[in-house]
């Protein structure tokens, strides 16, 4: 009798425990995709804006645009964007 009760309790617990992770998994994946979606949309809108500005204004002077990986290595040849003061446009 006692053994039968133990088996039923164990099965109920297993069912309950296996249910929780499935809910967590679905919540977690939703948050994760929302985060990466945010990054992705931010990134794409940013690059889209940059492309639009570059393509739409074929002028000789352009504002200095930061590159995403510009700080990963030392600058070479010319001044990096972060060394050009606000409002100054240099010939490209």
């Amino acid at each position: 009798m006692k053994r039968w009760l133990f088996v039923v309790t164990a099965l109920a617990c297993l069912w309950g425990c296996s249910d929780e992770p499935s809910q967590n998994t679905s919540t977690g994946s939703s948050a994760s995709s929302s985060g990466s979606g945010g990054d992705g949309s931010s990134s794409s809108s940013s690059s889209g804006g940059g492309g639009g500005a570059g393509g739409g204004q074929p002028t000789a002077l352009v504002p200095c645009l930061d590159e995403r990986d510009a700080l990963l290595r030392p600058p070479s040849g010319k001044l990096p964007c972060e060394y050009v003061p606000p409002g100054l446009s240099l010939p490209q």
């Binding site: 600058p75 040849g77 010319k78 001044l79 990096p80 972060e82 060394y83 003061p85 606000p86 100054l88 240099l90 010939p91």
Partner: protein, 232 residues
């Protein structure tokens, strides 16, 4: 080429002379910020011809207020005040007890006081320092570090007063001609006046030279009323 003991002796002598010439009484920090309270620290590199430093008196420059000296290896301090304004400290003296004087010139000292700097950016401030040394036989000797730029003698300790600034871009209108940008901007990444740029860093100077549309700003190229951008 053979290196004889004489060669090494001459080389060692030259190096020692060079080190002694560098070991003045000087300010540890080359700059201080206009109108800000700060700790001014003076470095005492050596004593007087083999004798340990026994006392140091610093003349507080005009415009520097709220002076409070810090205790040091020299122990207690003593102050003098302006006759017209008794709240204004005019000199600070650090003096050892006789028993604390060392038998020889073996030690390096730092002496500090807290003070509020004058609101006079792009100028320099000078601390005239009087040094007293005491030999093992209690003989006293003296050194005067009081010469201002252009004067003969041992130079007074100096600091450049820089404008208040934050990391990133700072914009200033210069109140007077700047004779040497390196005095005020050796710790800045880059200084701009229009499309002219200056940096104390040789690598950045190379980048300036390699950037089209930018010309190198000479160290004496900033004049009164010029507007400059400085990145720290």
């Amino acid at each position: 080429m053979k290196h004889t003991p004489l060669t090494f002796s001459i080389l060692a002598g030259a190096l020692a002379t060079s080190a002694a010439a560098e070991a003045h009484i000087s300010a540890v920090s080359p700059t201080l910020i206009a109108g800000k309270t700060t700790v001014v620290e003076l470095s005492v590199g050596h004593g007087c011809e083999g004798s340990d430093t026994y006392a140091i008196t610093v003349e507080i420059p005009k415009g520097m207020i709220s002076v409070r000296p810090m205790s040091s290896d020299f122990g207690k301090t003593s102050l003098t005040y302006d006759a017209a304004d008794p709240a204004l400290v005019t000199t600070v003296t650090w003096q050892k007890d006789d028993a604390d004087a060392l038998p020889g010139d073996t030690n390096y000292y730092r002496l500090a006081f807290r003070a509020k700097a004058p609101s006079a950016p792009f100028t320099s401030i000078y601390y005239k320092v009087h040094q007293v040394c005491r030999a093992a036989d209690a003989t006293l000797s003296y050194a005067e570090w009081v010469a201002l730029p252009g004067e003969m003698g041992e130079p007074a300790a100096a600091q450049a007063i820089v404008p208040d600034h934050l990391p990133g871009w700072n914009k200033y209108t210069v109140p007077a001609d700047i004779a040497d940008l390196s005095v005020f901007f050796s710790d800045a990444h880059i200084v701009w006046r229009g499309t002219d740029a200056y940096s104390f860093n040789d690598n950045t100077v190379d980048l300036i030279k390699g950037t089209s549309g930018v010309t190198l700003l000479s160290a004496d190229g900033v004049k009164a009323n010029d507007e400059i951008w400085v990145r720290y």
